[in-house]
Every structure is written in C-alpha cells, then in structure tokens.
C-alpha cells in the first residue's frame, strides 16, 4: 500500500528516487501528457459552463484521480516511489529543504526567472518545458514574489472548520469548504500557493513544475482532514445539477470514475500521519 509522506521527512535516497522517476517520465513523454491534460481542463472549465477540474465541486476528486494516475506512472518507473506532500503552512520560506539543489532546486534568477539549480534546471538538460503558453522552454519560479506569504495554519484551520462541502452555484463564487480551499473566496489557500511559487506554477501549465504534485498532494490531504472532522458531511451536489459533476456522475477525461468512488483515499493510499477523526480530536 502506498504511503504518502511529508516531503520534509524524506530521506536523501527517497528524494533521489522521486526526482529520478520524474525525470524518467519526462524523458518518455508521459510527463508532458499530464501537463497537456491539466491545461486543457483549466482553459475549458468555466463558471457559467461545463466545469470539471477546477472552480467546481469536482476540483477535489478530479485532482485526487489525476494524482493517482500520475503516481501510478511514477510507480511503473520505480515501485518504491509515492507522491510526497508539501505542507506549505509549515515549510513556508524559500529556505525550506524542499527548494534545495538535491530536491526541487530553488527560486529563479532575477533576470528571467530561470531556475538555475537542482535536477529540473534547464541547464541540466533533462527537463525542458515543452507544453507551454509562451516561448520559454526553461522552468521558472519567483518564490514569494507574486504574493508575500503562504497560507498560515490558522487560515487552514478556519477553512477546515466549514461544515458544508460546497454550495450553489457550484463555481468560483460559492461559499463552503471546497471553494475556500480552492481559494477563489476567502483567505485563499490553493490558488495563493500557485501564485507564491510563480513561474509556470502560476499558469495553466502549472504541472510543468514538479512542486505541482506535492502542492496538490497536500490539498488532497486537507480534504481527508476535513472529512475526518465532519463525518456527517459529504460531497455535494447529490444529483441533477447542470454543468456540474454530481456525486455519482462520471468525470472526464476518464469517464469511468465518479466522485463517490474517490471519497475514501484509504482505498488507494494512506498518509504518514492519517487525519484524526472528529470524536478522537475533540477529546484531546
């Protein structure tokens, strides 16, 4: 069974295995297909029309499935690898070990935003940005420039305390847990992290930066923590909603999986620190 670990706790060998598997997926072209899929959905998902991957209730199960597919691809390269998660409430500066040269490499240089160290630097020759929205083929970042601060623990707590999963109109203007976690409303969690990293992470082709997977693995963990806290709450809407993926509707692009199939992450993986159920938490 796959165990997803906090990136800060990975051993040097685990970091090496993870980055090597990423580079192998890049070499074979598998990696770029994931970038293309994400960009296709992010450009097609609209507040007033069909919406599946973003700005809609299925934001969370869609990305859970997307990450499962990516993790399965990594495990074909190296069965020992699993997706680490980045708790950006804890590792919240550009000096975090996440951004060291033995892992993801650091921020971009001032002149053009180009990442100059680590396995994914353009100069290392193994990680060209091929699926892109402009002419630049090098990985870029501007850590902390687009927005000064990553979300805090207190901001995450406030969102986790929201008891209702999602609300009409089921888009970027919704109240409820999903849209506050996604970040179109309120303190802004998920969206703000994309902006904080900058470079490709701030664009529609954000999976070009390997930190995409670790950011979304943590967003996914926050969904699991919300479920543990609100055992009587569930995915909404239940049925009959135009342009929106209901609980038992299949999701594109797979067409063989529903949000209901994905609610329990423990069918697929566990976390190094599993969310504590509400009853147990209240007794601490």
């Amino acid at each position: 069974m796959t165990v997803r670990k906090n990136q800060a706790a990975l051993t040097p060998e685990e970091k090496r295995a993870f980055t090597n598997a990423l580079l192998e997926l890049k070499r074979t072209g598998v990696y770029d297909r994931f970038v293309t899929t994400h960009n296709g959905f992010i450009m097609a998902d609209t507040d007033s029309g069909d919406r599946v991957g973003h700005r809609s209730p299925s934001f969370l199960p869609w990305h859970r499935r997307f990450l499962l597919e990516f993790e399965a691809a990594l495990q074909k390269v190296d069965p020992k690898v699993s997706l680490p998660y980045w708790d950006w409430t804890a590792d919240r500066t550009s000096r975090s070990s996440l951004w060291a040269a033995d892992f993801l490499g650091g921020t971009g240089r001032a002149r053009d935003g180009q990442v100059m160290d680590g396995p994914f630097a353009y100069a290392a020759g193994k990680f060209n940005v091929n699926v892109r929205v402009d002419g630049r083929a090098y990985l870029r970042r501007a850590l902390g420039e687009g927005v000064a601060e990553l979300p805090t623990k207190a901001e995450v707590e406030a969102v986790l305390s929201m008891p209702v999963y999602d609300m009409a109109p089921w888009n970027s203007s919704s109240n409820g847990f999903r849209n506050h976690l996604e970040g179109w409303r309120g303190a802004n969690l998920h969206n703000r992290v994309h902006v904080w990293v900058g470079g490709q992470m701030a664009t529609g082709v954000s999976p070009n930066d390997p930190v995409f997977w670790m950011h979304h693995a943590y967003v996914d963990k926050l969904w699991a923590e919300w479920q543990a806290r609100h055992p009587k709450s569930t995915y909404l809407p239940a049925a009959g909603t135009t342009n929106v993926v209901d609980l038992n509707d299949t999701m594109r692009p797979w067409n063989d999986v529903t949000p209901a199939d994905l609610l329990d992450h423990r069918k697929f993986y566990t976390f190094d620190a599993e969310p504590v159920p509400a009853a147990a938490a209240s007794q601490r």
Partner: protein, 134 residues
Amino acid sequence: MNKITRRQALGTAAGALSALGIAGATAHAAAADSRASIPAGTVDEVYQGRRIQITPATSGAGHHGGHHGGGHDGLPTVRIDGRELHVMRNADGTWISVVNHYETFADPTSLARAAVRELQGAVLAPFAPMGGTA
C-alpha cells in the same frame, strides 16, 4: 497581418470559427488599424514595449467560439503583439488569463498588463487549448 491570419487558420482548423466568426475576426483586425473609430471598451496601447490590443465582445458573433469547448459569447479578445491571450471571466466579474491563472484581475486591461510583466519579453504561444509548443 501574418500572425492574425495564422491565428484565424488555427481556429478554422479546429473547427471553431464559423463563416460569421471569420468575418468578425477580420473586422477586429481592421478596427485595430484605424484608430478613428475605436468602439467603447477597445484598448490599443504600448505597455512596457509590448502592444496590448483589446477588442470587446461582439454579441452573438461567436468569434471566441471553441476556446471553452462551446462558443462563449461575451469575452473580449486580448492580444499581445498580435498573439491572442486566453482569458476567462469569473462569476464575480473578475478576470484571469492563461499566464496568470490563479490570480484575479479587476478588468481586461490590468490582466493584459500583468501578462506583459509575466512574459518578460517572451512571445505567446499559438492559441492551442490542448497545449503544444510555440
């Protein structure tokens, strides 16, 4: 005109442009060249050395059709140095673009200027909804 013609060709290849849509796009190109009759909402400015052109949505023309998989009217066309920038309007009236997709802007002009800053001189890739190289 080369770039605009190429963009039209791409749109036609994708089956996105109706005959009416092509006529609309041509009209926009012509409008950008004759500043005498700039309709309301049109922007044509040089910002940090880049030309930003914004033409307002034309109701019912469907010139933007296909980019969201179904022809959404009501979106302006934003170009930087003649290349179209993918833009989207949020339910609360704010705007995002494909180069700033997780950050909202109050209006298309501030969105286009942010895109120019983000591009740092780079040229937008051809408008291809499923990605691809420049």
